[in-house]
């Protein structure tokens, strides 16, 4: 059990690490392509394309980690007006609704991923890039987000503090 838990955590942080590395790559790719262009070379088209795809990979791979870090911004309005006990109920119910959303998207994302493989769909930009390499992020990311939201349903920690305001 702890082995699974450890492996899972490692996966989550590895994904977040890739997201951070992608952010750095955005900078590097832009600088490289500008330099090449201004030194009269043809910038590799993949510098441009990798930055565009990078934005997507970064967002998807980092999102579950951000759930764990409570970094997805939310507004406390109702929960701040409630007393302790009903607030706990509402907070856990909201987290449960988040799980539902993530499960639906993970499930539909998995279908999309399989359809992309079956049809051999490609994304046509500078290159013809297999679409499933992108859509595979959906089941992975939303699946892990669902698991992370589970902490706020069953765990000791709540998502909402009860203080009015936007929270991270």
């Amino acid at each position: 059990m702890t082995a699974i838990r450890k492996g899972y955590s490692a996966l989550l942080y590895a994904m977040a690490f890739i997201a951070g590395a992608t952010l750095v790559w955005l900078m590097v790719s832009v600088i490289l392509s500008v330099m090449m262009r201004n030194f009269g070379l043809q910038p590799f088209a993949w510098l441009f394309t990798s930055a565009e795809y990078g934005l997507f990979y970064m967002t998807m791979l980092g999102a579950p980690w951000l759930v764990r870090e409570k970094g997805h911004v939310h507004i406390e309005l109702v929960t701040s007006a409630l007393s302790e006990f009903p607030r706990r109920i509402v907070s856990r119910a909201v987290a449960l609704a988040c799980i539902a959303v993530c499960i639906i998207l993970a499930w539909k994302g998995a279908e999309l991923f399989l359809t992309n493989i079956e049809r051999g769909d490609v994304d046509t930009r500078a290159y013809y890039y297999p679409r499933w390499l992108l859509t595979v992020c959906f089941p992975l990311s939303f699946g892990l987000m669902a698991i992370e939201f589970m902490r706020f349903v069953f765990g000791s920690e709540l998502m909402h503090t009860g203080e009015a305001g936007i929270h991270e």
């Binding site: 201004n38 565009e52 909201v94 959303v101 998207l105 539909k108 992108l134 998502m159």
Partner: protein
């Protein structure tokens, strides 16, 4: 389903879920699932939603925002920002609220560089807010001006959004860009007036500490060592842009590189500072981009279901006097802007508003500028303006919703005042382009 039922369903869902405390991005996604199910033919619609989100995120125009954030975070975490603000603090002497003025001036300068209000909010926010907070400024003295100057980015040229609007509306790009210059400067001066008023009303809002007097030589040294190199990075980037070395979207990468080099030169570039900078930039980017992922599709659902078009046609169907009609269009933009992404709004409203503006006898350039201002204001309008969330992301922990909202209001008021002035004196916008 009638358009108002569709509108009610979509907006009702999102407002309800957000009020309940669902994370903003998740609330958008939940509303999208319901909307896709109802309007896009059941579960196929949900697959479409994911495809849309993928498309909305893989756009080069989104590249600068994380890089501006990275630039600001490196500035802060390496201590370069602290150095510069210390110096400015000492150079400006006793002027109350001096860093707020610096924000407006710097922000105005920066918005000439950046065409993206999200980018400049991200940069200024990560640059200024933590420092000002540390120096005892009340948060509205930092958050307010930054939200305001983020808005200047759209009307002061260069502005990607202005070019797009001019192209869609088939008006002269150059004229629309130039039309924004004087109103942009007026708006910046309103901001300065607002800060002055705020420090008068509440002297504690900005710390008025004494600084030791310095000789001219000391001042010059401080200026050359701690201010000029940092400002120099910005100047170099602007120069690179003007001579065509980089496009505005690419400028951010060089900004981040410049600050990295500077930090290395000042020997304050540590692995720890770098790690914390990337971490900070990543958090805000992820938070904002998952909202972009959700809200792009939400905008599309508003359009696809006929809800937003229905609203626009309904609101413009009344036979009103030109001024009243203008206010109706303005109100529609503000309302839609709370929920829709800016480019989608332009695509939707331009084909309806511009012909209407023409029959009402409005100058298209003047009307285009009013429309840009509406788009901008809606970007910072509570409760859902995206800039507010970006701001929250870069603010110190413990900054509350109410603080961010109340900080935004006086500066939104300035923009509204500018709109009123433009209506009363159209020459403010039109004098320069028609020279």
């Amino acid at each position: 389903m009638e358009w108002y039922e569709a509108l009610l369903l979509l907006l009702g869902t999102i407002v309800f879920l957000m009020a309940l405390g669902m994370p903003v991005a998740l609330a958008f996604l939940a509303a999208n699932i319901i909307g896709a199910w109802v309007f896009m033919g059941g579960d196929r619609g949900v697959g479409q939603l994911l495809n849309n989100g993928l498309g909305a995120l893989t756009k080069y125009a989104l590249v600068p925002i994380p890089l501006f954030l990275l630039m600001g975070e490196i500035f802060f975490h390496t201590g370069l920002g602290g150095r510069m603000f210390n110096a400015i603090d000492r150079l400006l002497g006793r002027l109350p609220g001096r860093l707020s003025y610096v924000t407006v001036l710097g922000g105005t300068g920066f918005s000439t560089l950046s065409g993206s209000s999200m980018g400049s909010t991200a940069l200024l926010g990560s640059l200024m807010v933590p420092e000002m907070n540390r120096r005892g400024y009340k948060s509205h003295m930092s958050i307010g001006p930054i939200l305001g100057t983020g808005g200047l980015a759209i009307i002061i040229p260069p502005s990607a959004l202005a070019v797009l609007l001019a192209t869609l509306a088939q008006i002269d790009v150059g004229a629309l860009l130039i039309a924004g210059v004087i109103p942009g400067l007026i708006l910046a001066s309103f901001y300065i007036g607002t800060i002055w008023l705020q420090t008068k009303i509440d002297p504690d809002a900005a710390p008025a500490y004494d600084v030791p007097p310095m000789t001219f030589g000391q001042k010059t040294l401080l200026l050359m060592r701690d201010v000029v190199p940092m400002v120099g990075v910005m100047v170099v980037i602007v120069a690179l842009m003007i001579n065509g070395f980089v496009t505005p979207s690419e400028a951010a990468a060089f900004g981040a590189l410049g600050v990295l080099i500077l930090a290395a030169v000042f020997r304050c570039l540590t692995w720890d500072a770098l790690r914390r900078s990337i971490n900070g930039a990543l958090r805000v980017t992820l938070m904002a981009y998952l909202i972009v992922f959700g809200s792009a599709t939400f905008s599309q659902l508003l359009a696809f279901s006929g809800a937003s078009r229905g609203l626009v046609s309904w609101a413009t169907s009344f036979e009103l006097a030109p001024l009243a009609m203008l206010l109706v269009m303005f109100a529609v933009l503000l309302l839609l802007g709370m929920f829709m992404e800016q480019i989608s709004m332009m695509l939707l409203t331009v084909p309806i508003f511009f012909p209407l503006a023409q029959t009402l006898g409005f100058d298209p350039v003047w009307f285009g500028l009013i429309m840009l201002l509406a788009l901008e204001i809606s970007f910072t309008t509570p409760p859902f303006g995206l800039l507010l969330f970006v701001m929250k992301g870069v603010s110190p922990p413990g900054t509350t919703m109410r603080e961010i909202y109340t900080s935004a209001f006086p500066f939104i008021g300035c923009s509204l005042l500018l709109v009123a002035l433009l209506i009363a004196f159209p020459k403010l916008a039109l004098w320069l382009p028609y020279q």
